[in-house]
Subunit: 355 residues, 4 copies
């Protein structure tokens, strides 16, 4: 694994616990973690259960006992590490957004297409059981032709103008702001659940607080966009870090000719489904026949944020073991990147999304 | 009153009951109702409590004992009746949208500006106690600088492709579809609560079902638009009649630097408020110090849809009696009309809203 | 009508508006209202739309043009007025609880049984569309054998120890406290929805604040009781005026072998239903085929507290016009009274409810 | 650890992950797991991360490298194992209910009082951050004098009469049914949050389905009871496995003179709090200053069922390391057992709870 911060912790938990819940043909061994600070990396290795640690990610590629590279760094280093790892014959799991630019993402997708190893981009919210159930319902046609997708990702951690200039607020490191960080998630979630791709968008972005302790904010605070999807659906999106009181509200509502569904990550064990114009049913997605849920606890005993990563690792390992292509692929990540770029360039004008 | 259908019934209830709850310096007498069908109008008069009935709206203008004309007809006749009524010295209450075109709305606003009578456009949702409380909180600065308005009006009554071509689906009568019918409400509500006007929008509209029993649908089924507001807020709007399972979900969320609020008309007695980034509080807007609520029932004994009209009539009569200008004015209605026009013409391009 | 306070206002609204929404074979005329204070009664008559007023309820009985007597006074006068009105050949609608004692209630039920006029006790919550729908679902067997009823009526208007000694806190006037005032409602609601009678209860009551400005509190602040029902269900009840933050939370949950339902009056337009162990569906009880709802507004346009009374008057008038027995009868009111008495006397011991 | 089924899995997860999130002065080593079936125990050890396995719990007591014994067996073996483990100088964590009878529980509490090792009963719901926050609010006086506790634990896994006779439906193994299994949790939770003990109860129990595939049901399906608490609060409880559609709804509402709170485990990351009679605020209990939450993820990234056990192990290890007494103690477990016995014997009569 490369990176040991927020995502590093989440991924480590997943690697460490996946076999306690899922029967898998392979069992991961947590060989080595890589970070820039030697001490912090050593401490992270001890705490999170990694056998070794290093400060040079190239070490991982050189080791024969490392077959998988899990990239949990900021977006600016994704392309370099991923392309090299794939070239070294490794399987690669890469945090989202896939890259900071379309150009980088395209290189990564190209590398993935011709590599021997498997590759996957870590849109972990696909692995929320409720989101997976949503996808299953739409794919089974239970909602009929999809008319609307309404997706929001609302946070509030930079509302305070005195909040400092962390790396996520710098374009050179993060690529974009709310748009790439959380907007990427709702683009992927909306496309994944509906099975439709965005074909065009018009959007607006805004930086409400332009100067913070530490310097100039060079990314967006909020991004709003609407668009058309490949199957005829209308889509609306809003990603913001200025929704006071909303902590991690990834929400998506889908309206189809035969029914609708609604999800909010702040109540992650619930999926709301309406059929035939009737009321919305609150489904606790903890039943044995619900996606992933059967591997965990009895009905009504919910999962937490962490477990989206465990489910994700399960799917990645399953794909590697069975020789199938994991999803979402780097190509999927590139497609999201193209939408992000279109929104960034839109400034209120309609942009078609090239394939 | 002109018109006796859905809006006619709602307004009649309000005229009939307003003095049972509010102490007013004037008491309305329900003189005469006008409709096209003589029998239906006579029956409506009897059922709703109107002393007389007629099939010619000009009769109302000729009568000295009629001081107020309440226009509850489809949008295509608003301008003619309203301008004539104002010219005849009457006070005019007109259903929304103010007109079917900006040109008509502009004529009405002009007439209103120079008339002796008072005029008001019937955006009744302003008179939901929870919406009025929302406005009060923002105006008092309790939410700080407003960053986001997120408004939706979701219905589902035309999801079935066999639903026939009623007048609301015909451009010649209704002007537009979801956009003018329910989109107008959320534009007004968003502007009213925030105290900011939309200064530019980019939008998309769609007609999902183009042919229905009875003929060609000539209005939009859904309209999505995003925009910028005069005070720096970002706004997103979605009006649709294709949100299966959503019956009358007028929703608005406002995020400010100091707090947020949320309202959904399907739970019309509730306003959700967050302060300082904390959780959202579900306020039952039925306390004596809440707008309008003190005139009604004890705490926890909620109001219904009908009562938004009673509250509206109360405010209109109060303005007439005290010689103040009722709000929203025809000028406010015109401003909404300009937004509607901009959305209709946008097709994904950014349109500035002229004052 | 006798009484012009809270209930008098609510009933008056119902009498005044019932024919604007319901097609009835008879139309009520609001002849005369009776109260103790001449001025207040005159003012109430004017405001609420009564043609005449008096301070002696016997006047109503003497008038040939009064066929219905609606009793909205405190419980201590119910028996005298109702028995006399029935003896005078009037139809009688009486506020709940039917009386302050079982003895009074038994006399009233006896009088009703042999009277020519129709009689009904005003458990208005039966006329909430959602409650009526709940009853319909259980009666149709959709929930299977009923196992549990869980009913609460939570208010908070006397939490403040400085709240004064109003009539509802005096045993001589009100009979009992939370128990008879709001406990009576949940007993009736639970029995009505399930179609089962309570056959035994064990209960506890408490007066948290025993002295208030104005004197000694002589009724209970809260009553808790559990019991067994005639069809084998287990029932639990809690009525309190000390549930801070709960304004008028009449709640009932019913669990059956095939499904469950849940209702809370603070969201009175919603009924939550679960079938076959699945999630709970939030039904907006505003569809044309829902009880009462078809007479009112389009789907999603909810009713308010007031309209439970309109629906009640509709049923009462319908019964009178068609010569059927309105429900709940005085006998039903007596049965509730027997439960109240059993709870009052229980002090933690099990009491069987005599028929 | 003794036992490897449902609770064994949950506790194992906690032992394995606690140091990845909490900084503790001691780090647990997972030495040996004990079960009756050699193969199943071996498999459980491998899957859950235990170094060794055995079929005789006495082996654990004989090992010097085992300092803690975690008892996850059915209630009938708790007393024997716990008393022996304490006599052997081990620290003991024991699943709830503490025992199947008051006599057993009393012996355990006595053993704990005089033992060198620490002991704790595993009422894991105390370690839900929202429940811990509730306790903190009440202890700080923010709700004022507590008037009401209203606790329910609703499940539905035996609604189907064809569900077989598992061990939890047999009195010889489980002691009691819903009462001891889930009723014990709400008794502990109610007493813990309020800081008041139950001083008397009156209750009713019922077995709705008496014969099942596999034999006679010898425990209750449901238990309802109400009571008085040491601080003057009134309490109501309902534990049932027949609440169709409710999966794991441990709910508690507390009403105090200054405010109220509400919790439902089916939405375990939320605590609803009302202050001064105002609306209820939905607090997402994921902020850094919330109990336990700071050790986990950023705000809005919720925990799952599993993590209540991790938090519990953290507290147990902290107590052992610092030489303080963990809570809830075996004496607390005995007190709950006395309430269970009183409810079982009540049959509608009031029973005082002896200390």
């Amino acid at each position: 694994m490369v990176g040991y911060a927020f995502m590093g912790r989440a991924h480590s938990q997943a690697w460490r616990n996946v076999t306690a819940f899922f029967d898998l043909p392979v069992a991961p061994a947590m060989r080595v973690i890589c970070g820039r600070s030697p001490e912090a990396t050593r401490a992270a290795a001890a705490r999170m259960g990694w056998a070794g640690h290093t400060t040079d990610w190239r070490d991982l590629l050189a080791r024969d006992d490392v077959q998988i590279v899990d990239i949990c760094t900021p977006g600016d280093s994704h392309a370099e590490i991923a392309v090299a790892a794939l070239a070294a014959g490794k399987h690669v799991l890469c945090e989202k957004p896939l890259a900071n630019t379309v150009e980088e993402a395209a290189r990564m997708a190209e590398a993935a297409a011709s590599a021997a190893g498997k590759s996957m981009v870590a849109f972990n919210y696909r692995r929320v059981p409720a989101v997976a159930l949503a996808r299953r319902l739409v794919a089974a046609g239970e909602l009929g032709a999809i008319r609307h997708v309404r997706a929001q990702y609302l946070q509030d951690w930079v509302v305070d103008p005195d909040f400092p200039l962390v790396w996520r607020l710098r374009k050179d490191l993060a690529g974009s702001g709310a748009l790439g960080d959380i907007g990427a998630h709702i683009i992927d979630t909306a496309q994944h659940i509906t099975g439709q791709d965005l074909v065009g968008v018009t959007g607006l972005t805004e930086t409400f607080v332009k100067d913070r302790p530490g310097g100039r904010v060079t990314v967006d605070d909020a991004a709003l966009f609407i668009g058309r999807m490949s199957g005829g659906a209308m889509a609306s999106f809003e990603a913001t870090r200025f929704a006071s009181g909303r902590k991690n509200a990834l929400r998506v509502e889908v309206n189809g000719a035969l029914g609708s569904l609604y999800f909010d990550f702040e109540a992650m064990n619930e999926l709301w489904v309406s059929k035939g114009g009737g009321g919305f049913t609150r489904i606790l997605v903890t039943e044995p026949d619900h996606p992933y849920a059967g591997a965990w606890w009895p009905p009504g005993h919910g999962l937490g944020y962490e477990h989206t990563f465990t489910n994700q690792i399960r799917d990645f390992l399953e794909a590697i073991a069975t020789g199938t292509d994991p999803s979402p692929s780097f190509a999927d990540g590139l497609r999201v990147q193209r939408v992000l770029e279109a929104v960034e360039q839109s400034d209120g004008a309609y942009k078609e999304i090239t394939r």
